[in-house]
């Protein structure tokens, strides 16, 4: 991904991404009250077929929470949970009265919980980036999209379509006690590279 950066700039960019993701990990641990680790960070310059685990999971329901970045640095983040992971998270964090109810209020509360998890995780990354790069940027109100597994990669590609040149990184978080491995995907415009260059240069 960071092909346009020299070694020094690459080191700074990688550290920034890692620090941002570490803050998100901390937020997730605090919300879920369970230890979380960053299992893997992948970099790429494309969002095509970014989530191979869903390519064969046609019938599986997947929850994608999207946050659009607003401000000086344009981008988008996606937090992706499988249906089973969502159920485990609900069971760990929400009262039984909400989990077991199918009332519109309970449904809204469950959706609200997922978007709030994303909101806090995305904001943790954004805060790190904003403070480090000295740019004004915020995450907009997150939106939840529920779809079939086979549709996820097309959705991510389509939603990232506004970006002519993308920088993309993906982290897999892992909660051993909860046994969840959500994906956390970030897409930035090339401006991200320019900001890193400006700081190092």
């Amino acid at each position: 991904m960071f092909a346009k950066l020299n070694d020094n700039e690459l080191e700074i960019a990688s550290k920034l991404v890692f620090d941002g993701l570490s803050m998100a990990k901390k937020s997730m641990e605090q919300i879920l009250q369970s230890p979380i680790s960053i299992e893997k960070v992948d970099y790429s310059d494309t969002v095509k077929s970014v989530l191979p685990r869903y390519l064969q999971a046609e019938a599986q329901t997947v929850h994608v929470i999207k946050t659009q970045l607003i401000g000086e640095l344009k981008g988008i983040s996606f937090l992706v949970f499988s249906d089973q992971e969502v159920k485990k998270v609900y069971e760990a964090c929400l009262p039984g009265t909400i989990i077991n109810s199918s009332s519109p209020e309970s449904k809204m509360m469950k959706m609200g919980f997922l978007t709030e998890v994303d909101n806090m995780m995305a904001a943790a990354v954004i805060t790190e980036f904003s403070n480090f790069l000295g740019v004004e940027m915020y995450g907009n109100v997150p939106s939840l999209h529920v779809m079939k597994g086979e549709e996820v990669n097309d959705f991510l590609e389509k939603e990232s379509g506004d970006f002519t040149s993308v920088i993309h990184f993906k982290a897999i978080f892992h909660g051993k006690e909860l046994d969840i491995s959500p994906d956390f995907i970030w897409v930035f415009q090339e401006e991200f590279v320019n900001k890193i260059k400006a700081i190092v240069g």
Binding site: G112, N119, A122, A123, T127, N131
Partner: protein, 121 residues
């Protein structure tokens, strides 16, 4: 001492969390709002003593709400509770008179301590 509090957050889940903490501590939640327009309406009509205010709402920011309150002389003590943790946002909020800025995810004690300080101050 019980305080009359308005809870402003676009997330129903967050509003529930905040309300539970406040009620458990014996405070009176007199209303809640899920966006800026509703918040401003309720600040004017309910006249809360304290507002817990999210910074990113669907129609405006918490900072925008603070500016409108200042322009219209709407008085209430504000505790901002937001996932936005940038230094610039905290500075803006502080300049506009926010009593305390709590970053989400927050501990119950953070909010209770802020309320205690408000009562004592």
């Amino acid at each position: 001492m019980s305080q009359k509090i308005l809870v402003v957050d676009d997330s129903g889940y967050s509003r529930m969390l905040v309300k539970n903490v406040l009620k458990k501590a014996g405070h009176e939640v007199i209303g809640e709002a899920k966006d800026g327009a509703e918040a401003l309406d309720k600040i004017e009509s309910l006249k809360p003593e304290i507002i817990t205010l999210d910074n990113i709402l669907p129609d405006m920011t918490g900072i925008d709400i603070l500016r409108v309150m200042k322009e219209n002389d709407l008085k209430a003590k504000v505790i901002m509770i937001s996932a936005v943790g940038q230094l610039s946002a905290i500075e803006d909020a502080t300049e506009l008179g926010v009593f305390q800025y709590i970053i989400k995810p927050f501990d119950e004690e953070d909010l209770l301590e802020a309320l205690k300080q408000l009562e004592n101050g």
